[in-house]
């Protein structure tokens, strides 16, 4: 049964399929906003198949084992995170006290592998991309964590399943977390390296950032990891900020899909209406606006927790 969870549902196959579909959805919305036609539904899959069939070039003078292992680690970490997030009911597949921290760390691993991939590539542009990856990590990670932990404070639990259960019984308190939701949506945009925070792989500046030297199947796995990360991040936001579950697991699952669609739609709007900002502007923005907002949310939640008899 574990193997079924791991490989089929909600693991690798389901996540890959949903990830590819979400990439299509994101690209289609982006294209429609730009008054273009956009890709057909199978385009992300076709891209992956094409990449896999292409020649894989590993640069001379790199650690070849690491070069090959990094994409797999990124994909595995992003996939593992889904098991602790409630999807079809307010109970996740696995849960224990403190799993929200594990999920956050699992979501950090892909970013670290991007950094290592750039560092290991021994290429100028990849190196600059890697440094930018880390700098960006330090700016969005703190607001994201604080934003996600604020609801946990209110629920007085560090377990995603318990947080979901708490908000299912107190649905009005969801509204209280809206500022944190906004912070997290913006920070996730940075985590997923999308406009306006696509600084680490800014095409016109540093070619493809960390992935400059990646090609063929390793690049395909990185692409899959990015898609998976997109879905997992959206799932996490949905579970923490929009914990709407019904008794029927199937209907709950459909609601979950709708939530993911809405979140990715918001992310796509963000992507299409802004220009890419500079690294130092992003750091400034995250620390000057996002982090204090998230901190304020935490303080408010703690105060409310003291006032309300929960």
């Amino acid at each position: 049964m574990s193997i079924f969870y791991l490989l089929v549902f909600p693991g690798f196959l389901f996540l890959s399929a949903l990830g590819l579909f979400m990439e299509y959805f994101d690209r289609k919305v982006y294209a429609r906003m730009q008054n273009r036609v956009g890709p057909p539904w199978y385009q992300p899959l076709a891209d992956i198949i094409k990449l896999v069939s292409k020649e894989t070039i590993i640069p001379y003078d790199t650690n070849k084992k690491m070069f090959a292992a990094l994409p797999v680690i990124a994909l595995a970490a992003a996939t593992t995170a889904i098991f602790y997030i409630p999807i079809w009911s307010s109970h996740a597949l696995f849960s224990f006290t403190g799993d929200i921290i594990v999920v956050l760390y699992l979501l950090t691993i892909p970013t670290l592998t991007f950094f290592l991939a750039g560092w290991n590539s021994n290429s100028l542009f990849a190196g600059i991309g890697a440094v930018r990856n880390l700098t960006q990590l330090f700016s969005y990670e703190v607001p994201l964590y604080m934003g996600l932990l604020a609801p946990a404070f209110l629920a007085s639990s560090w377990s995603l399943s318990e947080i979901s259960q708490f908000y299912t019984t107190h649905p009005l308190l969801i509204l209280l977390n809206i500022p944190a939701f906004i912070v997290c949506i913006i920070a996730v945009q940075g985590k997923l390296e999308r406009v306006p925070f696509d600084i680490p792989d800014a095409e016109t500046e540093i070619v493809a950032g960390s992935f400059t030297e990646y090609s063929g199947r390793y690049f395909a796995i990185f692409r899959m990891a990015l898609d998976t990360e997109l879905v997992v991040a959206a799932t996490l936001l949905a579970a923490v900020f929009i914990p709407v579950f019904v008794a029927n697991p199937f209907i709950s699952f459909l609601i979950y899909l709708a939530k993911v669609f809405v979140i990715i739609f918001i992310l796509a709007i963000f992507r299409s209406v802004m220009a890419r900002i500079r690294m130092e502007q992003m750091v400034k923005f995250c620390w000057r606006y996002l982090a204090p907002l998230a901190l304020a949310q935490i303080i408010i939640n703690i105060l409310i927790k003291g006032v309300l008899p929960l």
Binding site: M33, Q34, N35, R36, L124, F125, I128, V195, P196, D198, I199, A202, E203, T204, E205, I206, V207, S272, V273, M274, A275, R276, I277, R278, M279, E280, Q281
Partner: protein
């Protein structure tokens, strides 16, 4: 932090044509920049010398894909001046109409490229979608989308039909509406302003010192515009406004170009109502009298200057083209220094560079001896072999180049 040398180019996603920029970085800041040209030399000037005046016209038109009409206008007017021919007024107006349509589509193209360089692809798509409308009119009127082929020696080749006048009037209406959106966006979008303001600074004094022209100079507060300073075609009657901005940065260059488009629309509308009747061309002899002439026009990118020498035969003796990019080129290194690496694509793009227009034959000026020399192919080859042997330690002499 150590210094890193980053090569932007010869092949780089930010560059639409090959050119090389060697940036020395300290962290993300550019401490010194070196701009190199010479990857796109096509021998166009020499090719013109081997062809008749009318054949050269089509080569001159292909110096630049985007400002092709400016190049052919300056060439035609120079030849007409040599031949002592006054072209009909309607022809002058028609040239001006295409000039302004070209400015419209060139600035729209630039706006799109600039938006793409800073990752604002939605803006890029909108601008290029609207540019298609201008291109369609140019195609219907002139016969082609970029190398219009509307100019001929002694006038223009096609006349405006009532339908095209109607089309242009509709275009003006559409552009009014769209340009309002773009002006609002350029002035009011926070992310655009964050990326463009205080980037690629070029003060008024430095702009004059480096000899910047066109929108780059105008965005630094230098009020130069050939259309006003030295009117060509029908610009003595169709008055252009000089759009000057004193932001002295990339943001100012965006504003200048957007407001120039508004001005172009105004002029187009004026010309559609006031175009004089008459013939559209006069005959020009195949042999042009001997003489020399220097002429300039305002291309969308700035002043486009030509020198033409004739020896009384069917073929020009010498054509020297100075495309606007060549004048703006020298300021690039100055603008890049002190800014972030992330800004370098937009700074380079902000002069609206056209490298193949700029690449010309070289004359060697030895700074130490003051000697001037023109090298032939064999000497140039030998020079490069020596240079690489001395500077890079590579010996190309063993290589057989045919």
């Amino acid at each position: 932090m150590g210094r890193v040398v980053v090569p932007i180019g010869t092949q780089h996603p930010a560059l639409k044509e090959p050119a090389s920029f060697i940036l020395t970085l300290e962290g993300e800041k550019v401490v010194s920049a070196k701009a190199k040209l010479g990857y796109n030399h096509r021998g166009i000037e020499k090719a013109c010398e081997n062809r008749s005046y009318i054949q050269s016209l089509y080569i001159v038109e292909r110096v630049c894909g985007i400002c092709s009409h400016a190049h052919s206008t300056v060439y035609c007017e120079a030849v007409e001046e040599l031949a002592g021919i006054e072209i009909p007024k309607r022809a002058k107006y028609l040239r001006t109409v295409v000039c302004e349509l070209e400015r419209l589509h060139s600035h729209l193209l630039w706006l799109g490229v600039a938006a793409h360089e800073i990752g604002f692809d939605t803006f890029f798509m909108y601008v290029w979608r609207d540019r298609e409308k201008v291109m369609d009119i140019l195609e219907n009127f002139c016969g082609n989308r970029v190398n219009y082929g509307i100019n001929t020696l002694g006038g223009v080749r096609r006349d405006l039909t009532p339908e095209i006048i109607e089309d242009i009037k509709n275009l003006c209406k559409l552009m009014d509406e769209r340009l309002k959106i773009y002006t609002d966006l350029a002035m009011g979008d926070a992310t655009l302003a964050a990326r463009l303001a205080k980037v690629g600074r070029l003060s008024k004094e430095t702009a004059i010192q480096y000899g910047a022209v066109g929108p780059v100079a105008r965005a630094s507060g230098v009020a130069i515009d050939v259309r006003v300073n030295d009117p060509f075609a029908a610009y003595d009657e169709v008055k252009a406004n000089i759009v000057v901005d004193d932001n002295c940065d990339v943001f100012g260059r965006v504003l200048v170009r957007v407001l120039e488009m508004v001005d172009s629309v105004r002029m187009l509308r004026f010309m559609m109502d006031n175009i004089p009747d008459g013939t559209i061309s006069v005959k020009v002899p195949r042999k042009i009298p001997a003489g020399e002439v220097a002429h300039r026009v305002e291309a969308p990118r700035g002043e486009d200057a030509y020198f033409l020498a004739s020896n009384g035969t069917e073929k020009p003796e010498r054509i020297r083209m100075r495309a606007p990019t060549e004048a703006n080129w020298h300021a690039i290194a100055h603008m890049l220094e002190g800014d972030y690496l992330a800004d370098s694509p937009i700074i380079i793009a902000a002069i609206d560079p056209c490298y193949s227009c700029t690449d010309r034959a070289i004359q060697i000026n030895d700074l130490n001896t003051g000697k001037q020399d023109i090298l032939n192919w064999q000497q140039l080859k030998q020079y490069s072999i020596n240079w690489h042997r001395e500077n890079n330690g590579i010996d190309f002499a063993k290589l057989k180049i045919k």
